[in-house]
Assembly symmetry: D2
Homo-oligomer: 386 residues x 4
Amino acid sequence: MSRLGIWFIGARGSLATTATVGLGALAARLVDTTGCVTEHPDLDATGLAAYDAIVVGGHDVADTPLVKRAEQLVAGDVVPAALLAPLAEELERVERRLRPGLAPNADGPVDQRADAERLVRDLREFAADVDRVVVVDVSSTEPPHDAGADAESVAALEAAWDAGRAPLAPSSVYAYAALAAGCGYVGFTPSPGVDVPALRELAEREGLPYAGCDGKTGETLVKSALAPMFHTRALAVRSWTSINLLGGGDGATLADPAAASSKTRAKRSGLDAMLGHPVEGPMHIDYVEDLGDWKTAWDQIRFDGFLGTRMTLQFTWQGCDSTLAAPLVLDLARLVGRALEVGESGALTELAFFFKSPLDTEEHRLAQQWQALTAWSARCADRVRP
Amino acid sequence: MSRLGIWFIGARGSLATTATVGLGALAARLVDTTGCVTEHPDLDATGLAAYDAIVVGGHDVADTPLVKRAEQLVAGDVVPAALLAPLAEELERVERRLRPGLAPNADGPVDQRADAERLVRDLREFAADVDRVVVVDVSSTEPPHDAGADAESVAALEAAWDAGRAPLAPSSVYAYAALAAGCGYVGFTPSPGVDVPALRELAEREGLPYAGCDGKTGETLVKSALAPMFHTRALAVRSWTSINLLGGGDGATLADPAAASSKTRAKRSGLDAMLGHPVEGPMHIDYVEDLGDWKTAWDQIRFDGFLGTRMTLQFTWQGCDSTLAAPLVLDLARLVGRALEVGESGALTELAFFFKSPLDTEEHRLAQQWQALTAWSARCADRVRP
Amino acid sequence: MSRLGIWFIGARGSLATTATVGLGALAARLVDTTGCVTEHPDLDATGLAAYDAIVVGGHDVADTPLVKRAEQLVAGDVVPAALLAPLAEELERVERRLRPGLAPNADGPVDQRADAERLVRDLREFAADVDRVVVVDVSSTEPPHDAGADAESVAALEAAWDAGRAPLAPSSVYAYAALAAGCGYVGFTPSPGVDVPALRELAEREGLPYAGCDGKTGETLVKSALAPMFHTRALAVRSWTSINLLGGGDGATLADPAAASSKTRAKRSGLDAMLGHPVEGPMHIDYVEDLGDWKTAWDQIRFDGFLGTRMTLQFTWQGCDSTLAAPLVLDLARLVGRALEVGESGALTELAFFFKSPLDTEEHRLAQQWQALTAWSARCADRVRP
Amino acid sequence: MSRLGIWFIGARGSLATTATVGLGALAARLVDTTGCVTEHPDLDATGLAAYDAIVVGGHDVADTPLVKRAEQLVAGDVVPAALLAPLAEELERVERRLRPGLAPNADGPVDQRADAERLVRDLREFAADVDRVVVVDVSSTEPPHDAGADAESVAALEAAWDAGRAPLAPSSVYAYAALAAGCGYVGFTPSPGVDVPALRELAEREGLPYAGCDGKTGETLVKSALAPMFHTRALAVRSWTSINLLGGGDGATLADPAAASSKTRAKRSGLDAMLGHPVEGPMHIDYVEDLGDWKTAWDQIRFDGFLGTRMTLQFTWQGCDSTLAAPLVLDLARLVGRALEVGESGALTELAFFFKSPLDTEEHRLAQQWQALTAWSARCADRVRP
């Protein structure tokens, strides 16, 4: 049976740690598959890697041991305490496969080519033990970044590097390394990652698949179910207010307005598309330390009905971001692993179901995304790699 | 241009009055088409009756003049005051076409055949001035009613009538009359209406189309958008609590537990189907006089995610039932009118989009219902009556 | 230092178990005093029993060991897991002091005098080791019960018992025993308990204090803070809808409409008093098994302002009934213990702060209740038993 | 009978217009006194001006006729349409008493003394027809403003004006004029107004009463009822998130972060005081044009109970700011008018009930403020001007 490697960028973060613990628990049949989309009966799982045939490794700039991170998640009510003891050994095994990430504020000039080469070596070493590798970026959200003309093509990027420039955002250096090492790639954050022309060209040239960006886990998920309801019922949405409160590492990152703007841009993008017109309304992401990994979202949708009647829908979402996202990350790795196996390349638009800002498609409606995903899974099931 | 007649059962109720006022306002271009599904660009409106080619009549047991009912709706914040003056004449015209309904508590034995024949005469008189008629039941919800063996076939029904029995619920007598008069039929309430074997057989024999039942206007609409979200994301819904508060005529009717049970049964039916398993949770419809025609619904959905994480979604819906339902009633009349024209007969399952308990289909998911509706509209557009 | 005994009716229930665990944790300084009103700086705690000078015993009809009940509460997210090990011995000690309660469905005729005498023996045995005892009823809510003329006086009660009748509700048999044994009494449920004339007379005669009834822990607490706001601002509350969802033992009891009616009557009683007029609106208590000991309450308050403007306040309360109530139970035992010590007798109206239906007072407003409580605590602090 | 003049700063704004219409409606007995605190039976209204003995005038920089503003408020669902016709003449009378306010961006140097003198002349002219005047600032919120050493005393202010400086915020120029003209003063906005040392000294010297600042009408009102509940129950509030959405003129002003910061500072100030410690949590005021004069506030309060249990209270407030505030403005004018009559001077701390940031008192708890207010009303009732 073929073995799949998942390589996390941000392997010691809440999400990656939860996914790693969860994968171990699934492999050991300690938990059921609630939340795992690839276990849905309407999705054809033929050829997807079994949980006990998936191996985890990754990069991180932090060095808190994974076991300790898991304990913190238990304290924060994210991971059940009962999983720690049976999975301790597995976490130790993953620990040994983790490698240092790119130092955020390096002294002196940054040599992105050298950085990328080091990352590629890490990936190749990891890949030696498995049949294929999917790199999944779950690290902290970066501020918006314009890589400019230097990233317009592979050639331009090489030239920039030759000239000692460092045009890429860190997430894109990781994405470059993933492609250079022959891996599939998933951008689960709103960071640029693979979404610059040079890297897109590289993926095309290497025949590698990728998916992104920004996991659709909570409030935006609800939006993608509700907005089509208003649209097909010809109800006129006048304002849509979105409040997101969260603590934890993600909340702290997003307390930085620059990083938050990446996120709110991603959250906003789909709404106007689904409603067919721009809609006013504030969108906040606020850091409330007390909430930890638990997110509360409150949305108020003001809409007009027939004869101008003013009506309102409000919803409150109380969810745990890490456990919402963790199974999706495993799903994506399995699906992109399958895409690698059957030779799909480029942006996998059929995986839009998982993302706030799906690459290369304007389809944000959840039901339509689901149909595209299940149809794609059936097509992949029929194929074998030449 | 062909003319369509809409015949309301319950023509003086909040909903029919709002629909009548709204139709007049649309015909006179005093309001826009917000809330009118048949105006959606994805739906092929070829052949649908123009608003100024639609004529309204109806039955009602009440005798409050329509103009006075409209004034009450203005007072209750349902209909804009500015519409009354320009539509006064039109309301007077409709007033003259209204006929007495079936007296609810007749003294002595009920002669349903005679009742039906009287209703048929009313309908034939109305039909003389238009090309086709759709009867729409928007009267008060009846308690559950078992018509039994007497309604198993047209023959059994005739025999029961011959024997002096009165097996049908009043809503079904109206439905019988509609079919006997060659009309299309829409059951917009949870009352039995056309949904008894004898009447289904009659519709089949006469080649007449019908649709139902129970308009999906508010909380159940939201459910049909949200439940598939949980299902496709493999999230495990553990309980779904539904609270409905409303005043007005509908609220007063539903304060009667027997009538309410028809409604909650309808509201419940789809949820379990969409989630794939039964879900616990109370469902209340409460009469709060103070709310008038305005409904507040509050739902709490408790669901488990990955690793057994307990999460919650709550929503609050504040809508005006009459203005939510009125455009749908007009939509349904136009669509069933079109079905009559192109020769469709039997239960129109493609109109499930509009109903809490769609006849002859288990499809409750809003997005799939929308696709079925738009596809059907395209098919109808291509056809001409032989 | 004087020792206080708390005797729980329903000693193995969620609330008593949480209170017992909590008391142990307070005595061992394993937790802080959050939620403990008697620790508030504005309340004079002079003379209140120290936590490590309080001893717990009680009656219960169930026989699940206390340690096992505590484990269940850990599983239900009510009690922190970390408390179990350090308190195991203490729970064993309490276990040995628990005695069987009154069997609910005794075969043959009930001899309430014999029942009461047995309970009195249990109480006297317990009282031997402490300076004074407060009996606290935290058992399941009983349906409304009319003890009738047989309970109009002690003499009538004795005569009824002589005649072989059993006029008292079980909660009142416990209350009788408490008074007969010279204990203070707290009715923390809406059951009749001490609130029948014969028992009130007995308490008066014995010079014993009591307090009740029905602990004000969640939604009603919020009401008693909000209703005065509307009243003093001259805003006209038109309807107040109250939805209570809970699982757990209490929820199961209240799924019985008879028991629930005791509760909703208690919840309703204060609202009209605070607003100065009756207010419409449904009040539901629904059993949702999935929620366990966690309660969700949703209230919608519709009010009119100046010029008839229609406005709305809604609130959602998500709390754990057992941990909300447990510290109040300890507070009440300490306060009634102090009342015993300083010779207060009869209904302690100054403890209204703790109750949904405070005995012998119509004061439901939280702030005024707080002022009465703190003033009383100061008065008690100044006194020594003659 | 003595006549009271109300002079509005911002006389053409939503609030002043609503108050003016409302006063007319009260005087003509077209509406009841819902929302009028001074009509509460617990408040002693002896000596308060009758509604038909109150005359309105005011300053405004805008020149939209009052009748037109009233029509806009009818369109925005703030004022009932039925009031316009009967009050048209009264609005015309008020219109004739309105005078131009201080131009916001005057060309050339600002001469605040000359400005103030002009305002004083307007006030004196108005005062000629009534017995006493209360100036009420209901104009747009100003950004925080530090008047500095120039406003430390009357002498310093005079010196600064002599030197050609203009140290005061516009709201303080109005307040200066009010005092110089012998009027009482109410600061209903968070603007500085009378709250600078020089003006306080002036009021003291002139023996004039004033009250402020920032009307407590909605979300903060609810806070002042709820925060004491948490405090007296010894529940530990960990975070309190406050979201305020509103359109209309006030919303547009507060869309400016500088102005909003005045407001959020006022809203925040009381919470920490009531809870006894600082509490984290974002506080937003967002402009949502679609909402018009209607405000939606959503608050989430996260609190810990006994044994560290994490619990939550959320509330949603949907109110109309103008009709909430209008009766309070009339109340304040009547009360400060009475204070003038009986010779009270300085900051009226007993009116804290009405304000987010009551001057010269740290009492933010609604119930305690109410007790102070009613006690003061009784004291004033007993007095006659020497």
